[in-house]
């Protein structure tokens, strides 16, 4: 299986088949998954079968989709870029969606043990576009471009 095919399988099972997804990872307490800021590993880091089943269930709620766009292969690891869509959710981060479909990009790094099982997942979603689509006044001016005028920010 190529790395991009593997990444597609990883993304597909995350959304559609939790049992098959679980099989991609090493044994309980031999892996860690971090998909949000870690204030405390208890609650923010998935490392057991129970946490896997409970915390990843939200990905299979039928409202989210993941489409792999790019894969960087390394020695015992891959970096995956993917498109993310939330459709049909009432709210995102507590903000009402008013029926909007939300889209953005995301990244996932996976490291493997010698048996090819995932021992580390680090996932970060670019939430700025999602929050902008929900009305937050987030700006990302291109301040690095030659001739950029800070006064243009008002």
């Amino acid at each position: 299986m190529t790395d991009i095919a593997y990444a597609q399988k990883w993304a597909h099972t995350r959304i559609n088949d939790q049992a098959a997804h679980r099989d991609l990872y090493a044994g309980s307490e031999e892996f860690v998954i971090e998909t949000r800021k870690v204030n405390d590993h208890l609650g923010d880091t998935i490392s057991t079968d129970d946490e896997f089943r409970q915390d990843l269930a939200v990905w299979a709620d039928g409202r989210q989709s993941m489409t792999v766009t790019e894969v960087f292969s390394g020695n015992g690891h891959v970096m995956i870029h993917w498109d993310y869509e939330v459709a049909g959710a009432d709210a995102y981060r507590g903000l009402p969606t008013d029926g909007k479909t939300l889209t953005t990009k995301a990244s996932t790094f996976l490291a493997f043990n010698d048996a090819g099982k995932i021992i580390l997942e680090s996932t970060v979603v670019n939430e700025n576009p999602l929050l902008q689509q929900l009305g937050l006044p987030i700006i990302t001016p291109h301040y690095w471009e030659e001739g950029f005028d800070p006064a243009s920010l008002g």
């Binding site: 949000r36 208890l42 507590g94 580390l120 670019n126 700025n128 690095w144 030659e146």
Partner: protein, 153 residues
């Protein structure tokens, strides 16, 4: 590369734009999608991206940007740097008032290195959603979707 290189990379953030640019090959691609920075290939652009992080003036509102490494996973040709960022004395962040509102964020950066150890590809991502909650933007929840409380065995 390794943990030591990651520390060198983040110390260069604090030193100067020139110091950070020296760590990249002439032929490089830099991306930080959270700041809408895609396919940056010019050293001039790269320097202007990083000049913010070398700010040492606590009065100008740009903030002083403290970074810490959480870990490095990979080898000498590619890998992931996991880091933490704590800005101090920052007045406005991506359009949001953060004056006197302490926060920190975590992120990860994937690097590909050439044979000379220079960065040829960078893909940086960080958790901006939690910042919106932490600085008190009205209505923003701590997580994208509700999560169950952790249970102690």
């Amino acid at each position: 590369m390794n943990y030591a290189f990651a520390v060198k990379w983040l110390k260069a953030f604090r030193e100067s734009a020139d110091a950070i640019c020296e760590l990249y090959a002439d032929d490089f691609v830099f991306e930080d999608p959270i700041l809408d920075q895609y396919q940056i290939r010019d050293k001039g652009d790269l320097g202007r991206i990083f000049v913010l992080y070398a700010n040492k003036d606590r009065e100008n509102g740009l903030g002083v940007h403290n970074f810490r490494i959480r870990g490095y996973e990979g080898d000498h040709r590619s890998g992931l740097i996991r880091w933490e960022w704590t800005p101090e004395d920052c007045a406005n962040f991506i359009g949001i008032d953060v004056k006197d509102k302490p926060f920190f964020a975590q992120g990860h950066t994937f690097h590909v290195y050439n044979e000379e150890g220079k960065i040829v590809r960078e893909s940086s991502w960080w958790d901006s959603g939690s910042i919106m909650h932490d600085v008190g933007v009205p209505g923003v929840a701590p997580t994208p979707f509700p999560v169950a409380e952790p249970a102690l065995a």
